[in-house]
Amino acid sequence: VASLVLYLFAEFDDAANLLAANPDATTISIDEPAEIPKNQRGHRQEPGREEDDELLGTDDSDKTELLAGQKKSAPFWTFEYYQTFFDVDTYQVLDRIKGSVFPVPGKNFVRLYVRSNPDLYGPFWICATLVFTIAVSGNLSNFFIHLGKPTYHYVPEFRKVSIAATTIYAYAWLVPLALWGFLMWRNSKVMNIVSYSFLEIVCVYGYSLFIYIPTAILWIIPQKVVRWVLMMFSLCLSGSVLVMTFWPAVRDDNRRIALATVGTIVLLHALLAVGCLAYFFDAPELDFAAPVTPAHNVSTVITKSQ
């Protein structure tokens, strides 16, 4: 009972912290219990709890539900409901982008940056930028690769924009949906301490795609080694953001299921990167190795129409 009471007091303490960080959040003020935790924290702090606090966001996940319920109180058919998903300032968006590009080991992206204010601005516009960046960079890189050849006629390859858009938006919205459904299902079987709302998962996925934008621009360089090194690098960065976010949510589960979940997340992320590189960017060395025979025209026609 005492530990439960302390758990509740620690919750209110974090509420005070949260309020300090986000002063214009609508909350109900409960003055009395906020005084007590400052004394309790001193002598009953368990040794591993600090680090767990940061990584798990245990008390905050309940808090996020509380605050989220109070913020998003407009009915879903009004415009104000959707405005709550765009309640971010410029510096907040920039902070979240920075957090996705420089993942701090041990810090949870959702807890640190999203903090019960998931936004849809970042995911939507990062995906839009990524779609056009990949299409434009792919087009440019193909142009430079095939530049000197006499049979080459430049085409803008506009169809690929719609393909890129479908792929990236499907990845950024359907995979979080599936992951959220899976986590909810596991939550009903195993009492997980950490649970994320659907929007928070969409937020993490959207911001984790940001690193691919400069990567796609750098993929214009027509060197296979450079491209693969860039891909590995960006995959590590964004993959680590995703892993550090979702590992605490599954680690209380069966070991094999936890590893399988995290492995699937990373695998899908890698598939997206590899697929984009393979489809939108022609391989650079293929043309130099093509033999100058009557079959040459056939092979170039095949590579062009890929």
Partner: protein, 217 residues
């Protein structure tokens, strides 16, 4: 109202005031009905309004004429002419070609709607159609750039023509973005201006890319 039965106003206190009924912004109808005027006058009035807005785009000052009397004729004309000029850029009408008419149309209108929704969701005070109007009219510099590009491509399609086209398109892209930002940025809360300007930048960048990569057959 029993207590008011004996209230009376003294004779020497003047009671005056004004009763006005707000008419709204139907200013053209205040004097006469426009039903009886010659058709030429009606058309010329709308054409003059559209033309005035074109001038406002080319010299973007902080005037509210573009915002107050919005219309979508100008954007429609610009969009159709841009989409028509971007035709003939598809190689064998296979998948590798340039954008089709419908694709250009959809990109411009859908892009403008999305940007407007974005700015309204972020807390902007501009109305939906006013924002569409501004974004549509600010496509004018890029339409001019497309015209120039087609003329330059008639002369030749070597490196020199590409450099000329690049400079023209980049300049017009900058002009479009600055013009629309000048009109739209004021209606945003100050700490979110960059969040609203960036999608406009992306929108005109995509249109400029379509113009720059246009290769005729």
């Amino acid at each position: 109202f029993a207590g008011l039965a004996d209230v009376s106003i003294a004779e020497d206190i003047p009671v005056e005031g004004e009763i006005t009924v707000p008419v709204g912004s139907h200013s053209p109808d205040e004097d006469y009905s426009t039903l009886d005027e010659p058709v030429k006058d009606t058309i010329m009035r709308d054409l003059k309004a559209v033309g005035k807005k074109f001038v406002h785009v080319m010299y973007p000052k902080k005037s509210s004429a573009l915002l107050r009397d919005w219309d979508l004729w100008g954007p429609l004309v610009l969009c159709v002419s841009l989409a028509l000029m971007l035709q003939g850029g598809s190689a064998d009408s296979k998948e590798d070609g340039g954008p089709q008419f419908a694709e250009v149309f959809v990109i411009i209108w859908f892009g403008a709607v999305v940007i407007t929704l974005n700015s309204k969701l972020l807390g902007g005070t501009i109305s939906f159609f006013q924002s569409l109007c501004v974004l549509g009219y600010c496509v004018l510099p890029l339409t001019v750039a497309m015209l120039v590009c087609r003329l330059v491509l008639l002369a030749g399609s070597g490196t020199v023509s590409f450099i000329i086209r690049l400079i023209v398109v980049v300049a017009m892209f900058g002009w479009s973005t600055l013009a629309s930002t000048a009109f739209l940025a004021d209606s945003q809360p100050p700490n979110r201006k960059a969040l609203v300007v960036y999608p406009i930048f992306l929108f005109y960048f995509v249109i400029s890319w379509m113009i720059l990569t246009f290769t005729p057959q």
